[in-house]
Subunit: 251 residues, 2 copies
């Protein structure tokens, strides 16, 4: 029975897409069947695997607005146990249409229902906002994983975001649990970073992952190479820590 | 006659808020009258100056939805020549209301019109999305400043974002010009960063700022201190480069 995990944060640039790609790959290498769905109109999942627009037949826009069956948008990208559904919003008209299109919060949940048994994990990469797509993701998910940078802005916006999640969950998905809070881009040379990690560990001790992801140049270079870090530098701290996270989630 | 500059990017975490705060402060220290408006429901501008919710009487929500005059929301934060309008969206209901509220794209333009002569620069800090608030900002602005991280995702999403801006400008604001593309968080130790800067300089040579902002720990610590970098470490690379940017914009 597949576990749907929404990777979400209203704060931008905290490592949602990087976590979706590298956690997904680690779970796949550990033998789990994984589906990665890109709910962000920026389409960073496709960018990470160097997929061009002409290689994508169907994507998120077709599924949500044109009612194309999700199964037609699932792509095999040559990695065992890992498939993706790209976000192929081509124009700003399509994007505005998606935002303003009166999409019911339970739409994605009803689309993913019949698919849950085909995968061990379905990961949803969310955009940095509280719009329709993120609400759909929080309504469809079994649990939520929140990446947080070890920076002041991220720390400060976390409290409000947790309140928002509780509101959305009460309204649309009372069964939503926490997968956890993941500290990303940790720089052990900065004192402020260490202070923020301490504060996060104290305030959220029950829901914070033991694994933390260090700032690591291989993780930021991976999108330029077109492969997850595990496939070109398995031993790097970026790759090893995402494996540890995968093991923490499985257990 | 005030110049309205929208600081916008659909990519999250590229330094929009950091640029709004530090460019605003630098322009104010150089003697320009500056108004900083927070269009992001996350409210990072207020967080940067350690303003609590009870200190804020009116904000963005009141102006847009409750039609409170903008002048009532302008706050003096003790910095000469710099005033701010915070974003005080308290709940997710208010936020969803803002997104779904059928706000006309020209609303902000009509609100800012009577104020333009009171300031030399009005800076608009945008959220990381293409929703109603960003479209309002692009419709109200005279020019747009786009922060871009020297990272692959940022580089790849720039082309699409520029096409989107052209569409929005044709529809709602044909006079919109480029203030420029600003490279942020540049790390001279990473080869990939240098390659990306080279590529940006070649592809966008007419609209890219000469000044680039290095990755600098003082800039990421400033929000925790509650002051712009120029007010506690004037000589740091973070502060000096935002001064150079301010001079480049003035000339
Ligand atoms: N641990 C890390 N070390 C170094 N760089 C990282 C790390 N994690 C992510 N990055 C880089 O930081 C940038 C932001 O990460 P990413 O795009 O994954 O965040 P996001 O939350 O998905 O952003 P958005 O809000 O735009 O969707 C990217 O350029 C990415 O390559
Ligand atoms: N030049 C820099 N050097 C080091 N850290 C920086 C720099 N610029 C910004 N930061 C830090 O990086 C993080 C992201 O910056 P910021 O919040 O300004 O981006 P943003 O584009 O406004 O994000 P959002 O998309 O969420 O609105 C913040 O924690 C900030 O303190
Ligand atoms: Mg992302
Ligand atoms: Mg911001």
């Amino acid at each position: 029975m597949g576990d749907i995990i929404a990777i979400a944060s209203q704060k931008g640039g905290v490592g949602k897409t990087t976590t979706a790609i590298n956690l997904g790959t680690s779970l796949a290498i550990l033998g789990k069947q994984v589906l990665l769905i890109d709910l962000d109109p920026q389409g960073s999942i496709a960018t990470s695997f160097h997929l061009d627009e002409y290689e994508i037949s169907y994507g998120l826009y077709d599924i949500i607005v044109k009612k194309v069956p999700l199964a037609m948008a699932i792509m095999d990208i040559g990695l065992e146990n890992l498939e993706i559904v790209p976000s192929n919003i081509k124009s700003e008209e399509e994007e505005v249409e998606l935002f303003t299109h009166s999409i019911k919060p339970k739409l994605l949940r009803s689309i993913l229902g019949p698919l849950k048994d085909d995968y061990d994990y379905i990961l949803l990469d969310c955009p940095p906002s509280l719009g329709t797509l993120t609400i759909n993701a929080l309504t469809a998910a079994d649990s939520i994983l929140i990446p947080v940078q070890s920076e002041y802005f991220s720390l400060k916006s976390l409290g409000k975001f947790l309140r928002t999640i509780r509101n959305i969950s009460l309204k649309y998905n009372p069964g939503l649990k926490f997968s956890g809070i993941l500290i990303t881009m940790f720089d052990k040379r900065l004192n402020k970073s260490k202070e923020i990690v301490e504060e996060l560990r104290q305030n959220f001790k029950d829901i914070i992952f033991k694994t933390l992801i260090p700032r690591n140049s291989k993780l930021s270079e991976a999108p330029a190479i077109g492969k997850p870090v595990a496939l070109f530098d398995l031993g790097s701290p970026g790759s090893l820590n995402y494996f540890r996270l995968a093991e923490e989630i499985i257990s």
